[in-house]
Amino acid sequence: MRLRLILRRLAFLLMVVWAASTITFFVPRLSNRNPIRERFAELSRTGGFAAADLEVIVASYNKKFGLDKPLLQQYTDYIGSIARFDLGVSLSRFPMTVTQIIYNSLPWTISLLFVSAILSFLIGNLLGAVAAWPRSPGWLRAVATPFIMFTGVPPVLLAIFLLFFLAFKLKLFPLGQAYSTGTAPDWSFRFVLDIMWHQVLPAISMILGSVGGWVLSMRGMGITIQGEDYVNFAEHKGLDGRTIFRNYYLRNALLPQVTGFALALGSLITSGAVVEGLYALPGLGSKLGEAIRANDFMVIYGIVLFITMSVATLMVLVEFLYPFLDPRIKQE
């Protein structure tokens, strides 16, 4: 039974990836923009070769990228190359492949997103659970309220205000970039510390932006669970509050939150990409912004497809975690 479930989820994942790559293939071809022509038109404006040669160059490049073949064959070629994880070459940094660009910038994105996603999930759910727990002290419950106020505010806007107050006015933190200018990247302790120092503000803005949502949903969940019979039973049995909180209340309230985590991944990664761009960290988001500025279509499509695929894959992975968290699912 488990195997069938896994196979079904994998088939769904394949469908999602196929849908995403089909959209990234057909939407650009519906428009009249030709990435190669635009790129070379830009080059010819800045000088470098005569404008008359433009058509010849464009035609030869169309041939090289297979853009002169019939549409259906282009499509099958494209799907095939995605299956081999070949996302094409960058137009603005020509010999570099898109996969290489993603590979270089991925560590920055992962470190920021991993830290902020885990921390906001933990902080938010704990605060929400405490806020709904009738026996918790009043001041602890009041802590949750300011976070709820940030619920509707996207992390990018928080990032702007943090930059203004903490970095620009008080000069406590750097104004962006991945590490201090003038230092050379190496693996020394000081340099690693410098990198982490530059990651603090982006991480705080990501965390502040997403904690409120967790607090709200966890508080609602906690209130529902308090009325459940097994919690009442545990109380009448005379179990101490800490045990009830941890084993009866928190554990059961957390389960739906894990589903919520899977659903929130998409918006989390999206916000992460934009926040990265704002702080000029060399992650995927900044590369996406640069590519948009430079009309580097291959990189735009490659990064978009990569992010889409990773979100879908992570969602399915989180679903596979359920049986480990909830023994009831295993028996089905």
Binding site: F12, M15, V16, A19, A20, I23, T24, V27, P28, L30, S31, N32, R33, M149, T151, G152, V153, P154, V156, L157, I160, F161, L163, F164, A167, F168, L175, G176, R219, G220, I223, T224, L263, G266, S267, I269, T270, A273, V274, G277, L278, L288, G289, I292, R293, F297, I300, Y301, V304, I307, T308, V311, A312, M315
Partner: protein, 308 residues
Amino acid sequence: MTTLTTTAPPIQPSRLKLFGGYLRRNKSLGYGLGILLFLILFTGIGFFQIKPKNAYPLAVRPKQPPGILDFSAKDWPGKYPMGSDFFGRDMHAVMVTGMWQTALIGVLAGAAGTLIGVILGFTSAYFGGVFDMIIKGICQILTPIPVFMIQIIIASSLDKRDVTIFTMAWIVVMLAWMGPTLVIRSQVLSMKERQFVAVAKLSGVGNGGIIFGEILPNLLPFIAAAFVSQVFGSVFASFYLAIVGLGPLREPLLGNIIWGAQSQGAFFNGWWWWPIWPATAMVLILSSLALINMGLDELANPRVRRTE
């Protein structure tokens, strides 16, 4: 929304008083509407104070600090109360025009998305069958795909010169109908099993009569909530698109302003007011919409009230 609050009591105080009383109980709706009113007043009064031309580049002297903070000046708040940016735009004019444009995108895309959602959700839930399966399938497959990424693809395939406020709205709508479709679909599914629908059917009311006479009036609070959350989503989406540089670059849309400020290194150069005004406005717009949304949720779904 006033009509809903006036149903219960037999002796009617004035509607306004009842509405005020309701707002005192439903705090999030009250605060949300309050912020919205402030924003409307700001843009409304602002229209008479600014020249619309000054919201575009090369209109005024660039890089002027906001005069509203310079209290010692004789002509306070000065010629540029909110300062001017690197490209020579008067920030006050930019904010008034930009907020208006942001609202336009939000309302247009929100209305269109809700309409599509209501129609699709209704037909798929009411008639069921193959159509329902297709709609549900499309929604399920598209859900794990981060909508913003697909919007980037669509927006970057367009020629930058063609992008206007209206194209922005359409880009957002194209991928924003799934949410309301699913909400309306589930509501209609539960509603068509209720007894009053069965009674109507037995008394010989046709499909059209049941949809428009029986189900739709009961759905109105949900549709209103879906509309507000749709406006929120559209403002959010167009802001993200603009902040990565895919907006209509000439227009003083709030996201565009922040994008411009960021590409010119506004904080590095000390022009802090350039990104801060649009960011503040965006925070106000989004939180007012989020608060109204929460309030409407409470109105449409009284069960939420318990969780306070």
